[in-house]
Structure formats: structure tokens, C-alpha cells
Symmetry: C2
Subunit: 247 residues, 2 copies
């Protein structure tokens, strides 16, 4: 039987947010590869080999998946959320570019519920108008580029979703992000810290940007910033569909 | 039994992209409300009333859902894709804001696979780095705001996803969008026209922005624009995870 590799999104955590398409791919797999906590979500069964690796080896993991598929294995690379949003799909194509031997492989990317959409649904509809998704980690890009994007997103009055807002290796950077946003956002928009949505550890806090503290985020948090029109209705927040141009 | 209202995302079209969470809500519903083609995806069964309405009555539809739930019905408002991305969740909260009688209702928003993520997965990983989602319809916002957001998104070198790129009521506007993007994008980025992803009518075309023609999009198309680093690898396109700041 010929091998294949699929990069699949497991969604934010709850099993009932995994699509049937992803479940079917996992049921056919001989090998599952991914970051330790994501592989831990896959039930072991005879004939399935689980390959759990550390978070900092995305490219090695992708190359390993291509090797196994090239050797005839049926490989699922698991990501949390959606594999195309700050996750394993880009790493797989980087590995493919680096090793053209695998150009003819059967590759599929299976979408999933990404963290910002799960968090937005829990909060209401803060991304109900135009929005940006920005990865705040500076592992693979300079902070100057992050700053430039934050300023343009704010000047365009986009709502924003921030992935990887804060880690122990760069505790001060998110404080700088909040400063930049306060400089740029003329209004005082609502900001939601959504941690571990759809898991037992889920916690949501919505406050105004001026009240936000860096310590409110960690690496399990996605942060949603409203635009100038985002508002509360009861316990919900939402961004209206209707908008005027700014003065 | 007390009523509830759930706004649920059906994903882009294929049944195996509907989450189990959404399927479970539909199985418990007494009423399903939505735009005609989305309600047509729901299998009739005894005890379930289907309410299919035209696309231009989102607020009436949301108010109707609140009324039914307030009267004790179990109501699912169906959206395609994700309900929080240019869909029915914001309309529901607008209706709630307009009618505080329903403030105590049991409301849930259930996320779904939004069109840009399904399209990106089919194309490869064009949204693998920071990106913006922009609704190009000017039904509810002035074109000047759309133009401002396009220019900021381009100056921030964001990848972009465009919803509702073109309709018969505004055939010329998407041509203007392409002009603005060509003015702003110093490179000649890749652009993907993804129509009806995951349905039998699916069709994907990737070309360079300079080759794009307005007629390549219609209302069933989501358009993905790469950033300056987005490239092809074999039949795929992807945006690398690593980025430098622009000069």
C-alpha cells in the first residue's frame, strides 16, 4: 500500500470539536507524529505508532513524517487548532521544499477549529468584523516586524487575535505589545484573555485594554482585541457587522 | 423544558467538516433557522421545524430565533463556515441588544471551519504566517473603510483572506480592490481563488496578483492573497513561518 501524510487539526481541546474528517484520517493512520501534549490526545491501538516530540523541532518532525510516508506508512501529523494557523502545515511544506525526493507524495491538509474561533465563540462574536491574526512569538521573526504589524492593524481598526502572547523565555515582550496597542488605539477597546478554551482549564476574562496586565496571558492563552466598535451586551461581547469609516 | 438558542457553524460544505458538537445541537433542536441553502443541508425529521429565509434578513432571523427560544423552543441558527466570521453570531447579539427581554436566555455559539481555513488547507498553507480576514462587501460599511484596511494590511505585509469578493450588485468593486492591492504590494504575491471548497463544485486557481482578473471571483469564492514570502512548492503554496522585517 502506498504511503501518505496528512497534517490534521485537532481543534482547541474538546473531542467534540474534532471534525469527522480528522477522526477518519486518524483511524486509518499507522503513525501519528506531533508535539507531546497533542499526541497524548490520540488513543493508542494495535498497529498505530505514536511519535511524540518536543515543541522546538517542527522541521525535524515534518521531515520525519515525509520519510515515513515515503516508506509506505500512513502518517498523520497532529496540530492543535488548525494546522495552517501558526502550526505544522507550513513546516511540512518547508521540509518538502528542502527535500524534493518527496514531491510526488500524497499530502493532505485537514482544517480544524483554530483557537481564536473557539475563543471568539465563547466570548460572543468579537471577530464579527474584519480582523487580523498575529503570532506574537519572536522565535522566527524580528520584534520590529511584530510592532509594524500591530501598528498597521490598529490604524486599520481591525479586531485582532494574538497567538503565543507570552512565554517564560520572553516575559517582558507582551508588556511592550500592550504599550504599542495603547499608543495606537484611540478608543479603549475590549480585550479578552481566553485560556485553554474547551478544556477543563478554560478561563475567560474580558476587560478594557487600559486595564490589561501582561501576566494575564501565558502560552495557553489566545488574546482577542476588539475594534473601536466592539461592545458588551449582557455577559457577551460582540463586534457589530455595520461600520463607519473613521474621521 | 426551557428554550435555548445556539448559533452553529456548518463548515464550508462537506458533511465531514461539521463538528460533532454542532451535530449534537442539531439532533436536540426543535427549530432550525437560516439562509435557504444552509437550511437545505439539514435533514428533516419529525419534531423539527425548518425556517429558511433570504440572505438579506439576518437581523429579522436573529430576532425570530430569540423569540422562539424565549417561548421554550430549542433553536439552532445555522451559518456556513464559522458563525463568528462574517456570519450570524454578530447579528444575534445585535438582536439581543435591541431587545433586552431576552437577556437571560441560554445562548451558545458553536464554532465551525470557516471558508478561509478550508481553502488554505486545500491550497497548502498560504495563511501560515500573520494574516487578515476582510469582508469585501460594502453592504454594511463604506468602501473607504475597506480601502483603508487593504492599504494597512498590505503595508504590514499580512497575508489576506477576502470574503464576499464580488456580487452581481457590485461587479466593479473587486476590480478596484485588485488595483489597490497592486498599488500597495511591492512584490507580485500569489493569489488563490478558491470556489465552493469541499463541495462538488470546488475549484482552486492560483496565479500572481498581476494576472488576477475580477471575473475570477464570485460570491461562492474566498480569495487568499499571500504575503511577500508566499511561494510554490510543487502543486502547493505556502507562507514560511520565518520572516524578516522589510527594509
Amino acid at each position: 500500500m502506498s504511503g501518505w501524510v496528512t497534517v490534521a487539526g485537532l481543534g482547541p481541546g474538546a473531542e467534540d470539536l474534532v471534525t469527522p474528517e480528522v477522526s477518519a484520517a486518524l483511524a486509518e493512520a499507522t503513525d501519528v507524529i506531533g508535539y507531546i501534549p497533542y499526541v497524548a490526545r490520540i488513543a493508542p491501538r494495535p498497529g498505530l505508532t505514536l511519535h511524540a516530540t518536543d515543541n522546538r523541532v517542527e522541521l525535524d518532525r515534518a521531515a520525519h513524517a515525509l520519510e515515513l510516508a515515503g516508506a509506505g506508512r500512513r502518517v498523520v501529523v497532529v496540530s492543535s487548532g488548525d494546522p495552517g494557523v501558526f502550526a505544522m502545515a507550513s513546516a511540512l511544506f518547508e521540509a518538502l521544499e528542502a527535500d524534493p525526493r518527496h514531491a510526488a507524495l500524497d499530502i493532505r491538509i485537514l482544517p480544524g477549529i483554530t483557537a481564536m474561533l473557539a475563543a471568539a465563540a465563547r466570548a460572543g462574536a468579537p471577530l464579527g468584523h474584519d480582523f487580523c491574526a498575529i503570532n506574537l512569538s519572536d522565535n522566527l521573526k524580528p520584534f520590529a516586524l511584530i510592532e509594524r504589524r500591530l501598528r498597521h492593524a490598529a490604524r486599520g481598526d481591525f479586531a485582532m487575535a494574538f497567538y503565543n502572547p507570552r512565554s517564560s523565555s520572553r516575559p517582558h515582550q507582551f508588556a511592550r505589545v500592550l504599550e504599542i496597542l495603547r499608543e495606537e488605539c484611540g478608543s479603549d477597546p475590549l480585550i479578552t484573555f481566553a485560556r485553554a478554551v474547551s478544556t477543563p482549564d478554560e478561563r475567560l476574562v474580558t476587560i478594557s485594554l487600559s486595564e490589561a496586565q501582561p501576566g494575564m496571558a501565558d502560552m495557553r492563552t489566545v488574546v482577542l482585541l476588539g475594534n473601536s466598535a466592539t461592545r458588551r451586551v449582557g455577559r457577551w461581547i460582540y463586534t457589530p457587522r455595520r461600520a463607519e469609516d473613521a474621521p
